[in-house]
């Protein structure tokens, strides 16, 4: 569950998020649309604690405050960035295992292989991620986002570079996680049919 009240963020003199109010319930899939520079990515990055908001009245993820409980929030949020970062010297399974071990998930090796199988990457799990295609990186990024069983998923244009099969896998997983009470924000230029509602962001404001 995400609850934001009077949530603001600026970069220098430029106000990117202007006193946003937003509620997303458990199990909702909310599509976030808006033009380039409207603040979509900044909103995701401030919710996942990569960027700090300037001020807010309320900013809670599952009841945890963004400023006072950042570690609790990070353990509950899965994030897929527009360009997922990985170590090209490590294999797919090593990258995912690193992430799981940092998040104190037990039996990281088999858990990593299990999630790679879910996103259709199991046959490439021992290949160096530096040799992965754009679509494979996207699948690996999605596996990372869901592998520590988050209750909130923040996905920044998750279908970029994916083939038809990849899109189908991701959509099935999104619906499954939504049924498991995960709150999902999906940045996209189109609203998918399974989305529960669409929010439009313009110049940092919800309209």
């Amino acid at each position: 569950m995400i609850k934001l009240r009077a949530f603001s963020k600026s970069f220098g003199p430029r106000k990117v998020l202007r006193s946003l109010n937003l509620d997303i319930e458990s199990g909702e899939i909310v599509t976030l649309i808006g033009n380039n520079g409207s603040g979509k990515t900044t909103l995701l990055r401030t919710i996942n604690t990569l960027d700090s908001p300037d001020n807010y009245r309320t900013a809670e993820i599952n009841g945890f405050d963004l400023r006072s409980d950042p570690e609790e929030i990070r353990s509950r949020v899965g994030y897929l960035s527009h360009n997922p970062p990985f170590y090209p010297e490590l294999t797919g399974v090593e990258n995912l295992r690193l992430w799981l071990e940092l998040n104190s998930i037990g039996d990281a090796e088999s858990t990593a292989r299990n999630f790679l199988a879910q996103v259709g990457l199991i046959s490439f799990s021992d290949d160096l991620s530096g040799n992965y295609s754009r679509g494979m990186i996207q699948r690996l990024g999605f596996a990372m986002a869901i592998s520590h069983t988050p209750t909130v998923l923040l996905l920044d244009e998750p279908f970029t570079g994916l083939d038809a099969k990849g899109i189908e896998i991701l959509e099935e997983l999104l619906i499954k996680y939504s049924k498991d009470s995960c709150s999902i924000i999906l940045v996209s230029h189109q609203t998918p049919s399974y989305s529960t509602r669409t929010i439009k962001l313009e110049r940092g404001e919800i309209i």
Binding site: N48, T49, L50, P70, E71, E72, R74, S75, Y79, S81, N83, P85, F86, Y87, P88, E89, L90, E94, L98, W99, E101, L102, N103, S104, M144, H148
Partner: protein, 216 residues
């Protein structure tokens, strides 16, 4: 597994599979030592260990900046920041990962130094090597802190050097040079200088961890 151990293992694996940082830094240290070898006619400078430490300082900072820049450019630093470990664990993990690589680099520099400038430490060679390993702790702490702050900025490697070199020069490096010089000259300064070196290291490691934690 402890997150600090996870980060150390990751750092070593990434470096040993690419060998970008270690090989380049070792080559640079060889060139620095060779420049001193060819440019010096006055042997009195060689009676101290300043050349050894200037090579460790410059190439060591270069190595740490390279590691940090690589993380920053690939975006993998953000990946680490997204995990649920605390910021002080992230700092200590990155610092210790860099420290292991610095120890490898310093070992290479020490061997090159002895080949090019002869063994001035005599029977205290292993004690001098131990001082080098201890000195690397402070270098790694200050370097990691400076590099992680500066590398997201344009010209980050230059800012790292501008911040880290003066900080280290009048603390860790000065104490370390006093230590190794006392081993060469046989003076009684060693214990005091070594205690000072340990003190500086402790301040920088704990200070770095604290600053990383409060900067979140």
């Amino acid at each position: 597994m402890n997150p600090i151990m996870v980060l150390i293992r990751k750092e070593l694996k990434v470096e040993f599979r690419s060998l970008q940082g270690i090989v380049a830094s070792a080559m640079l240290s060889f060139m620095i030592l060779m420049s001193f070898k060819f440019s010096m006619y006055d042997n009195s400078i060689l009676e101290g260990s300043g050349i050894l430490w200037s090579s460790i300082l410059l190439t060591g900072l270069g190595l740490i900046t390279h590691i940090s820049t690589r993380e920053s450019e690939r975006g993998t630093f953000e990946l680490l920041k997204l995990s649920s470990i605390s910021r002080y664990q992230l700092f200590l993990g990155r610092m210790t990962g860099s420290l292991f690589l610095l120890w490898i680099l310093s070992t290479i520099i020490m061997i090159l130094y002895i080949i090019l400038f002869e063994n001035q430490f005599g029977n205290d060679l292993f004690l001098a090597y131990f001082v080098v390993l201890v000195g690397c702790i402070g270098l790694s702490a200050v370097g990691t802190l400076a590099a992680s702050t500066a590398t997201p900025l344009h010209g980050g490697w230059m800012i790292t050097s501008l911040f880290a070199i003066p900080t280290l020069l009048f603390t860790v490096i000065e104490a370390a040079i006093r230590c190794t010089d006392s081993l060469i000259s046989g003076s009684s300064d060693f214990e005091l200088a070594f205690m000072l070196l340990v003190l500086y290291n402790t301040v920088f490691v704990f200070g770095g961890a604290w600053l990383s934690e409060i900067s979140d």
